[in-house]
Symmetry: C2
Subunit: 321 residues, 2 copies
């Protein structure tokens, strides 16, 4: 949670003069952002989020993310819609940072999702995959299987300080995943980071998806595997089969999985868990002094991996049939 860049009223007013979104009414830094600085912006035309991109987002990737949100919103997906300025550009510059205004999305994220939330999420995820089908841009997933060995190399010398035996476990995971990672599955735009923070609900209804800054081109079923990891385990690391079942069934009510995707689900889940374990492990071992953000615990994903290592079939995740 952090505002990394302070924006003065004068700098903001100058920035807003390039947009046609009415008169500034209020402006507050939001604590939730981890990678970027976000402000709540209210004008006579409506509510918006102003995002300043900090170092972790590559500026070259921004056109992909912004065009994608615009594409998805145009196809009816509830997601933030970038606002173009008078020159027709969605990407501006403020306080030395790339900056974007997007429409504000109502909704609240759930900390402890239930079965019903998983059904809603599954439907929305399949809706996102469908809405992205005809998106013309491509962005490789730079945090997929090829990235994991180099990522682990950065953390390996101190990994066993974090948990006894972690190095050996990761080495085993890597050899299984690198040998068996599925290729040629149905692919397209995936969100790749659809954790509970990035999904909004109003009451029982899913109201929107946010934070597309890990979106990329990859297997649809891998996105589902990320969600199974992020939504269907409780705080103690126990997998809830009924939630997995709801998530998969919700997904398949919109887009049925192909046979190859069903078969690949266990290894995709194991890979997704390793991906988040590794990036968290690297962050955990490299907290900068004075950091504003508390790193996330990599061991949450080490515990999930214990489950994935013994799961052999999609049925273990709640896939019927």
């Amino acid at each position: 949670m952090a505002v990394y860049t302070e924006v003065s009223d004068e700098a903001l007013t100058a920035f807003l003069s390039a947009y046609e979104i009415g008169r500034l009414l209020s402006f507050k830094g939001i604590a939730e952002g981890v990678e970027n600085t976000n402000f709540f912006l209210h004008t006579t035309a409506g509510s918006y989020i102003l995002t300043l991109y900090e170092k972790r987002v590559r500026e070259d990737d921004l056109p992909f993310f912004l065009n994608l949100m615009e594409h998805l919103a145009a196809r009816g997906l509830a997601c933030p819609q970038p606002i173009r300025n008078r020159d027709g550009s969605a990407l501006g510059r403020l306080c030395g940072r790339p900056a974007v205004i997007v429409s504000f999305l109502e909704g609240v994220s759930v900390k402890r999702p239930g079965v019903h939330h998983c059904t809603e999420l599954g439907r929305a995820l399949a809706g996102l995959h469908a809405a992205g089908r005809d998106f013309g841009m491509r962005r490789d997933n730079n945090l997929s299987v090829e990235a994991w060995e180099p990522l682990f190399r950065a953390a390996a010398p101190r990994a066993d300080e974090v948990a006894a035996g972690l190095t050996a476990r990761v080495r085993d995971d890597l050899s299984v995943l690198e040998a068996g990672w599925p290729r040629g599955l149905p692919s397209g735009v995936i969100h790749a980071d659809l954790f509970t923070d990035n999904v909004f609900f109003i009451g029982d209804d899913l109201s929107g998806l946010i934070d597309f800054y890990f979106a990329c081109t990859d297997a649809f079923a891998y996105d589902l595997a990320i969600c199974l990891n992020a939504w269907c385990f409780d705080a103690e690391g126990k997998f809830h089969r009924d939630m997995g079942e709801a998530l998969i069934a919700g997904y398949e009510s919109v887009r049925p999985l192909e046979h190859a995707e069903v078969a690949a689900l266990p290894i995709l889940c194991r890979g997704a868990a390793l991906r988040f374990m590794l990036t968290r492990l690297v962050d955990w071992l490299n907290v900068p002094p004075g950091a504003l953000v508390q790193p996330k615990d990599p061991l949450e994903y080490d515990r999930r991996l214990t489950f994935h290592r013994t799961a052999t079939q999609a049925r273990d995740y709640g896939r019927a049939g």
Copy 2:
């Protein structure tokens, strides 16, 4: 800037069930709070701020602050209005903290105020003093002249590490202020912390005052002296007489100062500067490890004191006549 206490969607929903403010639409932690944790809250009934009071606010003082805001809002002052729950209470409890919902106030605070802002501020400050005249509660100013010597004692052993000669300068200030502090000036409710962050503007118009958690019963002219310090010096510590003139004239357009208040203005300004220098100095020397908030520089107020030590008349601050 910080969210000290995380509030889950479940805890919030349970808390809101005691209020009649419609259905929850969104909820975001705000980065600006220094003393408390603040959330932006949007429901089908409108926009609100939810505040959780952290350790620095004494729970016994909360009825004074909340009743005061209610009193001032009822008299037309643009300030946050506490929302009472179904039991008629404005003060609730959430995540182990005293918690309050207040109406959301539109507006943006200015980082570098100009002459016009000072005029507006002066008018609003006098309006606040007038609106508080018939408020029935009393709260002593526990950061007035009697508190400064004990405050300095806590910082004195290391004060000269912060600036050469600081101890000697403060000792001089203290002896002058303790000997000559004015008594019997017109008194009532003062804000006592009306820095630029706590004053909102929409365009050129002042739209409201916030953050009444230092409000107390003290001399009206001392509140004006706090504002002269907070608004009329630039980043380099130079006093701008035209801004002081605008602030005082704006104030007197609503409530003319009495002769004794005019005469006391220089010593009140010196005292106000010392008060903020001392609390900042104590915070500066006692930053807890892992602090989320950057302490404010006490030397900004040491520089202001250089000006106040030579100012002898209200005219030096821009008071005409």
